[in-house]
Amino acid sequence: MSNLIKPYLIETEPYYSAQGDEIKIFSAAIERGLPMMVKGPTGCGKTRFIEHMAWRLKRPLITMACNEDMSASDLVGRFLLDAQGTVWHDGPLTLAVRYGAICYLDEFVEARQDTTVVIHPLTDHRRILALDKRGEIVRAHPDFRLIVSYNPGYQSAAKDMKPSTRQRFGAINFDFLPRAQEIQVVAHESKISSEHAERLVRVAEQSRALRGRGLDEGISTRMLVHAAGLMVESISAHDACAIAMVAPLTDDPDLHAALLGFVEAQFGPKE
């Protein structure tokens, strides 16, 4: 393995609790070189899953968070200057392609559609990356893999992928974990008692029932871990939930009050 991508190796196991047989499916897809797309609501464990898989498969993971401002050269690289003249500098995608790492493009639909077409020749039988500025064709290292993630819930109205981009990927759907498992995850991540973790998870479940009834997304597992963390730091349950779950989720006073009602249904009326 090249020294250039060694720092991207994940040394310790990231905690991950599987929803189904996604580990098996994903390993098989990686084995066959199939580009993968993971989608699901925010804070349900997509990124954690990818980190876990990179650790499991012992491949370096190069992550890139996409945004509207991103240009193709931010992905593939550009010429820079030094004392002698211009030098080519590989972008994160080229780095992964050249030396064989997993390239993970987070929130992929946030990037503009004309930026994302550079991945097209990488994701079919050709497996090449054309660096037009350099006049170079980079053939992908056998270990190179491409993974993208996005959240179909709130983004799809305004932003979407081109069908020609979409069709190159296999897709795994993520959702929030079943109750017992989510309790276990929250308890593990925050070191809170499982009794309190259960109460938090039930608050989240009630909030998820409001999805599409005023809320874009319910309370996520990530928010639960945050709230549980505050409770471990001996913040009262009501305050922890208000700070880490209710207030960030909505600005609407009616929904805010309803969410506090769900907290009350688990932890009792606030003194």
């Binding site: 010429f79 820079l80 309803a258 009602g261 769900f262 009350e264």
Partner: protein
């Protein structure tokens, strides 16, 4: 002097009202005239009397039979005359509640007590519930109950004991007055009641046949059932125990020894393990319940038998549930959803159809196409209306009717000459998806351009020098509804011309559409006229995404005037259409020739106040409104409706179309 003038004005207004009442319904008018002397004695002054006539007229235009019967009993209910606001509320409630039931409506106006809205406490409590309703609806959805509305009970006289919360599968009804609940406990009470209702929906067997069970037995079985479902609910939602506990306040001293008191103490004992009650009946109930819960909390039969045992021992104590029993504590519902009092057994009237009795049609036989003539294809939407005397919205008061888009081919008329309006003044907004590279100045450095420059310098050629970049801007998009008043008055000729008002409106609409309809700006042409609150006709002449081609132009040409101007309803409907669209600017441009009016409204200010409320609601949704009117005396009302600067009075008909262009540019350029 001025007092005297004022007096005459009031008298004149009263005369006016009476005259219009006579036009609406002769019979009511004669009844009112007959008891006028008595009314004059009862009413404070002529202003009050005029308000009273308003209420009668309000009922008269809708239901003449009711107004006549109301007028005849007026002198026998003097208390109604002392509080006219309450009388008006009561009349509106009656018209709303029995919209389609003429018999019940007549009964309501002939016999019901008009003072049901007079109690201030009740009104405050009801208003508080209405304010909380959206929040409570979300709270209920959190328990997985999505198709249940929250409503208030029907109003009742203040001296009666308010009913309990009442459940049905579709509606949860709350009492209008909450007795014995502190103001700061109200929200908790609402939540407790909803959580209890959710527990019923989740764990109770609903609508069991009640059979011949005695009311005392039903009440006690229900009490045990309430405790059982709360016990189950607390397993999933532990915080509810404390929430419900707030309202379990019965003690030996406060609740007493009659059966409702004992029942309240038992309810508390079943809820709260720290509460000790020495009464033998309560203790036996608690023991039986604890044992049954430990055995199997889902075994409904076992719990029913506890209720039965309790009823028997109550019988031995000669204790019965009184008629007006309300389950305690207050958050609990009347448990009517648990029982089906009149179960219908349909086993016997099942019809058995044998094949012999069925006639078969020949396969070849020509089947005439289904007749669609009787099906009403029109789309109806309901909107509220603002009652400025009561400061309330009357829910679902007006019906806006839209015809289906007809498929008739229209003859096209020659294209009208139009003036192009310059609208290049529009604002632009930053769009990060547009990127401008290689600029001489900009917000940030363009890295690629810098490298090119450096290469040029080192290779000894002249560098370009343009090394900046910034984000581009795009035009703001707008959605504009041109709302045309097509009432009867628009058929008259505009002063000093040989063109009708409607034709002037049409040319203004054409001008706006031709000048503005583009990729960013979408213009829709709508028109409206009304014939009472049940028929506000609304027509889409051109939709937002439709080209202004032959068909919409022909629709516009064919537009004829007729009927009245219920402006508020039209504005609400236009706002609803606009709020479904995504655009940076949303604008309603109202073209009209006079003030709002309708056949079923006799009060002068009512429709003006309603239109003004509709404008406020629109602006709360980010929709701007602007009015162009040909009425020279419009100052009096148009400012009240649209606000200080959002109207233009075109006193010259020829300039109307030109003004329209200016107005719309003003609207979308800032």
């Amino acid at each position: 002097m001025s007092a005297l003038r004022n007096h005459y004005q009031v008298e004149a207004a009263l005369e006016n009202r009476l005259r219009s009442l006579r036009d609406v319904d002769e019979a009511t008018y004669s009844v009112v005239l007959a008891c006028m002397p008595a009314l004059e004695d009862l009413a404070k002054d002529a202003t009050d009397l005029a308000l009273l006539i308003d209420v009668i007229a309000l009922v008269a235009v809708e239901a003449p039979d009711c107004s006549a019967s109301l007028a005849t009993r007026l002198h026998s209910i003097p208390e109604a005359l002392s509080d006219l606001e309450c009388l008006r509320k009561w009349a509106v409630h009656g018209l709303q509640r029995y919209k389609d039931q003429a018999v019940q409506r007549l009964f309501f106006f002939s016999y019901e007590d008009p003072s049901i809205f007079s109690d201030q406490r009740t009104e405050i409590d009801s208003a508080q519930f209405i304010r909380r309703r959206d929040m409570l609806q979300s709270y209920l959805s959190g328990f997985g109950v999505n198709d249940c509305r929250l409503e208030l009970h029907d109003p009742q006289a203040a001296k009666l004991l308010p009913p309990s919360v009442s459940l049905s599968r579709e509606i949860i009804r709350f009492p209008r007055r909450l007795t014995d609940v502190m103001a700061n406990q109200r929200d908790a009470l609402f939540r407790a009641a909803i959580a209890h209702a959710a527990a019923h929906f989740r764990h109770s067997k609903l609508l069991r046949p009640a059979g011949a069970r005695h009311p005392t037995l039903l009440a006690l079985i229900s009490l045990v059932e309430d405790a059982r479902i709360e016990h189950l609910m607390v397993k999933d939602y532990p915080g509810l125990h404390a929430l419900w506990g707030k309202f379990h306040t019965a003690t030996r001293e406060s609740a007493g020894f009659d059966l409702p008191g004992l029942a309240a103490r038992l309810a508390r004992a079943l809820h709260d393990p720290n509460y000790h009650d020495k009464n033998a009946w309560v203790q036996s109930g608690l023991e039986l319940f604890t044992e049954a819960v430990q055995r199997d909390p889902y075994d409904q039969k076992a719990f029913d038998s506890i209720g039965r045992k309790l009823a028997i021992s109550a019988e031995k104590m000669h204790q019965h549930m009184p008629e007006n029993y309300r389950p305690a504590p207050v958050y609990r519902d009347d448990n009517l959803l648990l029982w089906d009092m009149n179960p219908v057994y349909q086993d016997d009237d099942r019809v058995v159809v044998s094949l012999k009795d069925v006639q078969f049609r020949d396969l070849e036989e020509d089947i005439s196409p289904t007749r669609l003539m009787d099906v009403d294809m029109r789309r109806k939407s309901f909107y509220p209306e603002w009652d400025h005397r009561l400061d309330v919205l009357r829910d679902d008061w007006v019906t806006v009717i839209e015809p289906p888009l007809s498929a008739i081919r229209y003859k096209t008329s020659p294209k009208a000459r139009t003036t192009k309006v310059d609208h290049q003044t529009q604002r632009r907004v930053v769009d990060r998806a547009i990127r401008l590279n290689k600029l001489a100045e900009g917000d940030e450095l363009d890295l690629n351009a810098i490298v090119d420059n450096a290469i040029d310098m080192r290779s000894g050629t002249q560098p370009d020098g343009r090394i900046f970049r910034r984000h581009g801007r795009r035009r703001k998009s707008s959605a504009i509804v041109v709302l045309m008043d097509q009432s009867q008055s628009t058929e008259r000729y505009a002063t000093g011309t040989f063109t009708t008002v409607l034709d002037i409106e049409k040319s203004a609409a054409r001008l706006v559409t031709n000048a503005l309809h583009s990729n960013e700006n979408r213009v829709a042409l709508h028109s409206f006229s009304s014939n009472g609150r049940h028929q506000v006709h609304y027509q889409t002449l051109k939709d937002f995404d439709e080209d202004f081609g032959a068909e919409p132009q022909a629709r516009l040409d064919l537009l004829r005037g007729g009927m009245s101007t219920r402006m508020g309803a039209a504005l609400r409907h236009a706002s609803a259409t606009l709020s479904a669209r995504s655009a940076d600017y949303k604008v309603i441009l109202m073209l009209t020739d006079g003030q709002p009016s309708d056949v079923d409204v006799l009060e002068d200010d009512y429709l003006i106040a309603d239109a003004s409320h509709a404008v406020l609601c629109a602006s709360a949704q980010g929709i701007k409104t602007f009015c162009l009117t040909l009425d020279r005396r419009a100052d009096a009302y148009v400012q009240k409706i649209f606000g200080m600067r959002n109207y233009l009075i075109a006193d010259d008909a020829n300039a109307f179309a030109g003004y329209t262009g200016k107005a719309i540019i003003k609207l979308i350029s800032n």
